[in-house]
């Protein structure tokens, strides 16, 4: 009896492996393979076509000690992540709290606010470039009605990164949907009990809603942090001649890496850059995971 059971379990395990096999093979061939190759090539002067000589840690050393643009690009990216992650998270929570109300026509609003998340890519960036145009754009026109002399947005280095962050705030619909779903899942009995105890709406929000959605906040923070470090397209499309201008204010890490890889053909150097970014993101994600138990609340909570 026991024997057949373990045989069956073994068989099932085997089936499991068989089913995930395409993924495993794909992962080894198309993800792990290139990943290890890039680690190796980051210690060479690989230029894609004709050379690949071992140069030791020269790429890394050059990046840290001789390359001013490396630090500029890292700073720009950190700036962007530092502001965009908290702002988009708060924005999405705020929006979903509003859209969680029971008012007539709420579905129309939900659709409207989700719509920007459906649109994506270069079309949206071009649209925003027109909206943000200092002379003829709609945003400065509307600011003008209130007597505000709008900034030069994408032409003023102090405003270029805030411009992109505003643009990101416009498309928080995707994260909003997650928060909304999770808010709808919060048990009504908790609110009823709080109401009987005399808690007002704000206290209910901060003491019931927020703790109950912390798992989703955690997920959102981790993924948007990683996504934030990968910012590339926005700068490539929206900066003057795709170089990261004006005055290098939109030279993000990945844009500089791309330039090194495909304009200078310093592929080994670019791969070293990608590993530095990988390590930064890895450390930040580890910190996030370590801090999570302090503030993320899982229902059924056995402290996990």
């Amino acid at each position: 009896m026991a024997k057949t059971k373990s045989a069956m379990r073994r068989k099932e395990t085997m089936y499991g492996y068989i089913f995930v096999m395409p993924w495993i093979v794909g992962f080894l061939a198309f993800t792990a393979g290139p990943l290890l190759f890039s680690l190796f090539a980051s210690f060479t002067n690989y230029n894609i076509t004709s050379q690949m000589d071992f140069v030791g840690a020269e790429n890394y050393q050059g990046l840290f000690t001789e390359d001013g643009l490396f630090w500029t690009s890292l700073w720009n990216t950190l700036y962007y992540v530092l502001f965009s992650v908290p702002l988009t998270t708060i924005g999405a929570i705020f929006l979903s709290a509003l859209l969680n109300q029971d008012v007539p026509g709420i579905r129309v609003f939900r659709t409207l606010y989700y719509l920007p998340a459906v649109l994506s890519g270069v079309g949206v960036y071009l649209l925003w470039m027109q909206l943000l145009d200092p002379g003829t754009g709609m945003i400065n026109l509307i600011l003008g009605w209130f007597g505000i002399d709008g900034p030069n947005w994408l032409f003023d280095p102090a405003w270029t990164k805030p411009s992109l962050i505003f643009m990101k705030l416009w498309s928080v619909g995707g994260a909003m949907l997650l928060y909304l779903a999770s808010m709808q899942g919060v048990s009504k009995t908790l609110y009823e009990a709080a109401e009987i105890d005399g808690a007002n709406t704000f206290r209910q929000f901060f003491h019931i809603t927020l703790p109950m959605i912390t798992p989703v906040i955690f997920f959102d923070v981790v993924t948007s942090l990683i996504g934030g470090f990968q910012i590339f397209q926005e700068a490539y499309v929206m900066s003057s001649n795709g170089e990261g201008g004006p005055a290098n204010s939109l030279l993000f890490y990945n844009l500089y890496m791309w330039r090194q890889a495909f304009e200078n053909f310093n592929m080994g150097y670019a791969m070293a850059m990608s590993w530095i970014l990988f390590i930064i993101v890895f450390i930040l994600t580890m910190i996030n995971l370590k801090l999570a138990p302090r503030w993320v609340h899982y229902e059924g909570g056995d402290n996990r």
């Binding site: 068989k11 085997m14 492996y17 068989i18 096999m21 395409p22 093979v25 794909g26 061939a29 198309f30 230029n47 894609i48 076509t49 004709s50 050059g62 001789e66 001013g68 643009l69 145009d133 200092p134 002379g135 003829t136 030069n152 032409f155 003023d156 280095p157 170089e243 201008g245 004006p246 005055a247 290098n248 030279l251 330039r259 090194q260 495909f262 304009e263 200078n264 053909f265």
Partner: protein
């Protein structure tokens, strides 16, 4: 017993699935040199000319070539501008590149150095065609004396001016400005101010071209010379930058930005309706005048020189036809390139696209073409003559992206956060260390 087979079977299935995706195909063996059923060699030709204007022209040239002989059959592959060269690079690395590709002329030497493009000197030794092309273009294709691509087309920058506006301002419409001083003087006369707003702006040097073209115009040479000497922080560049800054101060950012937005919108270019007196652009700007402002009375001139005798140097770019390293039929590829850059095909391209071509004979006969209108002939022949004063800016192999270190500093001058002197000094230092780093062994 049965279950023993399951795992190997699964392995087999998944590896079949993978090979089905052609993940492991290797090219670059002689079997892959494509031949079609008639025994003709098939060439894959990559361009980014997919627009409804250019595509029929290049495809007509290809058809003509295919019909002109019976050994080679060229097939055209259109790839978008943003993709073509990264795809080409990947194809070269994979050992299965296209046979002929159109690429940027200014980075030809770099691709030669990196062994991405094939050295053509072997073919040229047998049949030297170099003197068919403008020398400046030909020289841009050389790395260590060997050619890595044959020039296809180019452009130069010329001054368009509004003759009616000249007359209105009391200037001779047949005497465009020839020096920077005259340019300033004429622009001031052309300015029409109404309160704080401009009804007409005479000229602003940074619309249509960038600061580097003016520095090239003033210097007559590039920022980095053949001995890897960096020539950015120079007296002439400083003077140029201060001169440009003076224009910015004169008109002010608000005016400049609102005009810039109209220029970027193409149809709304203020030059068309006479609210901009003079404008620098490539000769193809004429096709926009033709399409959007047919009755505009305009003239074209060389860029003014910094001071008399300094030279009217202008800037041009362009493209080459080249054979990627590892292409399987270089002889056939070269045959096709010869046709593509030969007088007949080049003239057809020039006339149909109103584009400057690299072949001298073709450019000169296109200028006489009766398919152009009077204005068209005027612009085209002027651009052809101007090629002798046109310089290219081949990227220095020692620092291909050095402009990435210069542009941000110059940006800061026009943003007001650096003086011209500071910006040039910093750019000089940055580019010097870049060159030093890249040439160190």
């Amino acid at each position: 017993m049965k279950k023993l087979y399951t795992i190997p079977a699964a392995f087999l299935a998944s590896s079949l699935f993978l090979t089905g995706c052609a993940g492991f195909q290797t090219g670059n063996n002689n079997d892959s040199s494509a031949e079609n059923e008639e025994g003709k060699v098939v060439l894959d030709f990559w361009t980014f000319w997919g627009s409804e204007i250019r595509r029929p022209v290049i495809e007509k040239i290809i058809t003509d070539f295919n019909e002109s002989q019976d050994e080679i059959e060229v097939q055209h592959t259109y790839l978008p501008w943003g993709d073509i060269w990264t795809k080409e690079l990947a194809a070269i690395a994979a050992g299965d590149p296209p046979d002929v590709v159109i690429n940027d002329i200014n980075a030809t030497a770099l691709r030669g150095e990196q062994n991405q493009a094939m050295n053509l000197s072997e073919f040229l030794a047998e049949d030297d065609i170099s003197d068919q092309f403008y020398p400046e273009l030909w020289d841009a294709t050389l790395y260590e004396g060997d050619s890595y691509g044959i020039p296809f087309n180019t452009d130069t920058r010329v001054l368009f001016y509004n003759k009616d506006a000249f007359e209105e301002a009391g200037l001779d419409p047949e005497q465009p400005p020839t020096t920077w001083d005259e340019l300033e003087e004429y622009a001031a006369k052309l300015d029409v101010k109404n309160g704080d707003d401009y009804e007409r702006i005479g000229f602003y040097p940074l619309w249509g071209i960038n600061y580097d073209v003016w520095m090239l115009n003033a210097n007559g040479h590039n920022f980095i010379n053949e001995d890897n000497e960096v020539l950015i922080d120079t007296e002439t560049n400083l003077e140029t930058l201060e001169w440009l800054k003076g224009w910015q101060d004169k008109y002010g950012d608000d005016v400049i930005n609102s005009y810039k937005a109209q220029i970027d919108s193409q149809q709304g270019n203020p030059f068309f309706n006479g609210s901009l007196g003079m404008y620098v652009s490539a000769p193809t700007f004429y096709t926009q005048i033709r399409d959007y402002a047919d009755d505009l009375n305009f003239g074209v001139a060389k860029l003014p020189e910094m001071e008399p005798g300094n030279g009217h140097t202008s800037w041009g770019g362009g493209f080459v036809a080249e054979i990627p390293a590892g292409a399987s039929n270089p002889e056939a590829s070269y045959e096709f390139i010869k046709y593509l850059t030969g007088a007949e095909a080049q003239e057809y391209w020039a006339v149909q696209n109103f584009d400057n071509v690299a072949n001298i004979e073709a450019a000169e006969s296109a200028a006489q073409s009766d398919e152009f209108t009077e204005d068209g002939t005027m612009v085209y022949s002027m651009a052809t003559e101007y090629m002798s004063d046109t310089l290219l800016t081949p990227v220095p192999v020692s620092a291909p992206d050095f402009m990435g270190s210069v542009n941000p500093k110059i940006d800061e001058v026009f943003l007001g956060s650096k003086t011209p002197k500071q910006a040039l000094e910093e750019a000089q230092a940055d580019v010097e260390s870049l060159v030093e780093k890249n040439t160190r062994e």
